[in-house]
Amino acid sequence: MKKNNPPVVMVVEDDPGILEVVKIILEEDGFVVVALGEGTEVEEQIKTKKPDIILIDLWMPGADGEEVVRKLKSQKETKKIPIIVISALADAEKRAQDAGADDFLPKPFNIQDLLLKVKNNL
C-alpha cells in the first residue's frame, strides 16, 4: 500500500480532551492527524483520507471499538492498515489482541510510548 508522506494517523476517540491532546502530540511530531469522535465515521473516512495507521479506543458510544477493529481486520481493503488500540479498560489488552489489533497502548500513557508505538507499527 502506498504510504503517505507525511504519514496519516487516524485517531478514533470519544473523549474530546484525549482526542485533542493526541492530535497535538502527533502533529508536533510531524504526523497528519484525522481525528474522529466516534466509530461510526471510521469506514467512510478511511475511504477518503486513506490513513497509514489507526489509533482507536475500545469503549465508545455508537459503534463499539472492538467491533470496528474486527470488521476492519476482516475486510480485504482495510485489513492491512495497522491498528493500535488505546484503552483504559482493565482487560483491554486481551480484547484488543482477540479483535486482531496490531498493538496496544494503555491509558494513561507516556507521550514517548505513544510516539514509539506509532512509528514501530507504521
Partner: protein, 528 residues
C-alpha cells in the same frame, strides 16, 4: 383339739397309740419338706419333725440340747409382730394363724418361712399349746421381692418414658416451627436421593414442591450451575455428597426457579445418621441473589469508574509531558521542579485508580495472570533502578541472584516489587537502606525486602495483608493510601501458588518476603 380330762400329756404316747400310725407317720415325716411341730406358749418346741435341719440349720437334737426357743431364731425385725400375735395365741381360744416371717439359720443365712399354726386349749378353754406346720418359702419370697423391685423399676421407667415423650413432643414442636419459619430452603432427602419433605421456603424459592422428586430430576428442573456457569454434576450437589456421609458447607451455585428467574444460592448439606448409617440427608439453600447482584453492580460501577477516572488523568498527563518538554528546553528550573511534582502526583493518582480496579478483579476471582518466561534478576534490577531514581536519598542494596528465567506474570510481579519497595520507602521515617535479597530453594525463588522503618506492631501483623487494612492512629494518618497494595500483592503471589509473609519489629523495621515455585523451562508453553 381338746384332750381328755386328767390325761397325761404324753404326745408321743398318744401318737403311738394311733393304730399303725407310727410307721405312717414316720414315712410321712421323712418326706415332709416342711416342719411339723407342737410347742408351748413360750416358743419352746415340744415336738418337732420334718425338715428341721434343712430349714433351720440346726438338728432336732441341737435344738433340744441347746434349749433353743423358736423366737431366738426369728429375725429381729420380724420378732415384734410375732410377739404381738403371740398375745392373741395365748389368750384367744381356737385361734389359728397363717403368717410369713424370716428366721436366721445356723449359718446366719436368712430363710423365709410360711407358718400355719393353731392353739390347743385345755378343758377350761385356755390355750396351752400350739401346733402347726411351716414351709421354707425363701425362693418364692425372693421371687416376690424381685417382682416388687421390677414393678417399681418399671413404674419408674414408665414415668421416665412419659417424660421423654413430653420432651420429644416439645422438641418436635420446636423443630416444626423452625422448619416452617426458616427463610432458607430446607429439604430432607431419603437415602435414594428422593425428597421426602420440604419447608415452605423451598416451595417459595423453587416455585414448586420438590417432594417426591429425586436429585437428578431436581437438578435438571432447576438448571443448577456452578458459579462460573458450568452445569453441576449431580454427584457434586451438596445433598448428594451428604448422602455419602460428607457434610458440605457453603457452596455457591446458580439455579433457575419455575418462573425462569436466575437465583444465586449458597448451599449446605448434612447427612442424617441412624445407628451409624446414613439414612438420608438434609440440604439448605440461602438465597444470595440480592447480594450477588449488588456485588455485580458494585463491580460494574468500579470498572466504569476506573475507566472514567483514567480518561481525564490521561489528558492531564499528556499535557503535563508536553509542558515538561517545553520547559526543559527553556531550562526554567523552578518550573521543571513544579512540573515534576505534578507528574508524581498524577502517577500516584493513576496507581490509586489501578489499585481500585485490581481489587475488584481480585475480589471477583478474576485476577488473571499472563505468564511468560523472563529474566527475574533484570526485573528486580529495573525496579531498584526506578526507585533509586524516585527516592535518591535511600540506599537500595541487592543481594543474591536467581540466574535463570522464570515463568510468571512479569507485569504483576513487577507490581508486587514496586509495592514492597514503595512501602519500604514510605514507612521509613528517614532515608535509610532497603535491602533486597534474592534466593533459591527447592524449586522456588524467594524475594525479601527489608527496611529499617517504623515496623509493624504485633496486633497489626496478622491483618496487614487484608483488603482495605490500614494502620490506624497517628501512624495511619501519616501514611496515606487505600490499603490495597499488600492485599493485591499477596493475591498475586497466591495466584502464582506462592506465599507472602512479613517479619517485623515495631520501631525497627520490617522484612516482607515472598516465594513462588519456579516452573522449569519446558517446551510446552501452556498458560496456567
Amino acid at each position: 383339739m381338746t384332750l381328755g380330762k386328767g390325761r397325761d400329756l404324753s404326745f408321743k404316747k398318744n401318737l403311738d397309740r394311733l393304730k399303725g400310725g407310727k410307721e405312717l407317720y414316720y414315712s410321712f415325716i421323712r418326706n415332709f419338706h416342711g416342719i411339723a411341730f407342737y410347742g408351748d406358749m413360750h416358743f419352746s418346741p415340744l415336738l418337732f419333725d420334718g425338715a428341721v435341719r434343712k430349714i433351720t440349720g440346726y438338728s432336732k437334737r441341737e435344738f433340744f440340747e441347746k434349749r433353743l426357743t423358736w423366737d431366738q431364731i426369728i429375725h429381729p425385725e420380724d420378732r415384734p409382730r410375732i410377739y404381738q400375735e403371740a398375745q392373741k395365741i395365748k389368750t384367744v381360744p381356737h385361734y389359728s394363724a397363717e403368717r410369713e416371717y424370716r428366721i436366721i439359720q445356723k449359718t446366719g443365712k436368712i430363710c423365709w418361712v410360711r407358718e400355719f399354726l393353731r392353739n390347743i386349749c385345755n378343758e377350761t378353754g385356755t390355750p396351752i399349746l400350739v401346733s402347726g406346720v411351716m414351709y421354707d418359702i425363701t425362693r418364692r419370697k425372693s421371687v416376690e421381692e424381685e417382682r416388687e423391685r421390677l414393678l417399681k423399676q418399671l413404674e419408674g421407667e414408665k414415668r421416665w418414658a412419659e417424660q421423654l415423650v413430653v420432651e420429644a413432643e416439645e422438641r418436635a414442636g420446636e423443630l416444626d416451627a423452625v422448619f416452617s419459619a426458616l427463610s432458607d430452603t430446607l429439604v430432607v432427602y431419603d437415602k435414594e436421593g428422593t425428597a421426602v419433605s420440604a419447608n415452605p421456603a423451598t416451595i417459595k424459592l423453587f416455585g414448586f414442591n420438590p417432594v417426591g422428586m429425586n436429585l437428578q430430576l431436581l437438578s435438571q428442573k432447576l438448571t443448577t450451575r456452578h458459579r462460573h456457569g458450568d452445569p453441576i454434576k449431580v454427584d457434586d450437589l451438596p445433598a448428594v455428597q451428604a448422602l455419602r456421609g460428607k457434610t458440605v458447607s457453603s457452596k455457591y451455585f446458580f439455579l433457575k426457579n419455575a418462573a425462569g428467574e436466575e437465583i444465586m444460592a449458597l448451599g449446605s448439606a448434612s447427612p442424617i445418621f441412624r445407628r451409624g448409617k446414613v439414612v438420608g440427608s438434609v440440604a439448605t439453600l440461602h438465597d444470595v441473589s440480592e447480594s450477588w447482584q449488588a456485588e455485580k453492580r458494585k463491580d460494574d460501577f468500579v470498572a466504569i469508574s476506573g475507566h472514567e477516572l483514567k480518561t481525564p488523568i490521561t489528558t492531564l498527563k499528556a499535557y503535563l509531558q508536553i509542558l515538561q518538554s517545553r520547559f526543559a528546553k527553556i531550562d526554567d528550573e523552578e518550573a521543571n521542579r513544579y512540573l515534576l511534582k505534578m507528574s508524581t502526583q498524577i502517577d500516584r493518582l493513576t496507581n490509586l485508580v489501578k489499585d481500585l480496579l485490581d481489587v475488584t478483579k481480585v475480589g471477583a476471582g478474576k485476577l488473571e495472570l499472563n505468564k511468560e518466561f523472563f529474566d527475574f534478576d533484570s526485573l528486580v534490577d529495573e525496579a531498584i533502578e526506578d526507585f533509586q531514581r524516585i527516592a535518591p536519598s535511600f540506599k537500595f542494596i541487592k543481594r543474591g541472584r536467581i540466574g535463570k528465567k522464570v515463568f510468571a506474570d512479569k507485569d504483576r510481579l513487577s507490581q508486587v516489587l514496586a509495592n514492597l519497595l514503595s512501602n519500604a520507602v514510605r514507612y521509613s521515617l528517614k532515608p535509610d537502606r532497603v535491602i533486597i535479597t534474592l534466593s533459591q530453594n527447592k524449586g522456588s525463588l524467594g524475594v525479601s525486602v527489608k527496611d529499617f522503618g517504623v515496623g509493624i506492631s504485633e496486633e497489626n501483623r496478622g491483618k496487614i495483608f487484608e483488603r482495605f487494612f490500614r494502620v490506624g492512629g497517628a501512624l495511619g494518618k501519616k501514611f496515606s493510601g487505600l490499603g490495597l497494595g499488600l492485599y493485591i500483592s499477596s493475591e498475586i503471589i497466591k495466584k502464582h501458588n506462592g506465599e507472602m509473609e512479613v517479619k517485623s519489629r515495631e520501631g525497627q523495621g520490617s522484612t516482607f518476603s515472598f516465594r513462588i515455585p519456579i516452573i522449569k523451562k519446558e517446551k510446552n508453553n501452556e498458560k496456567k
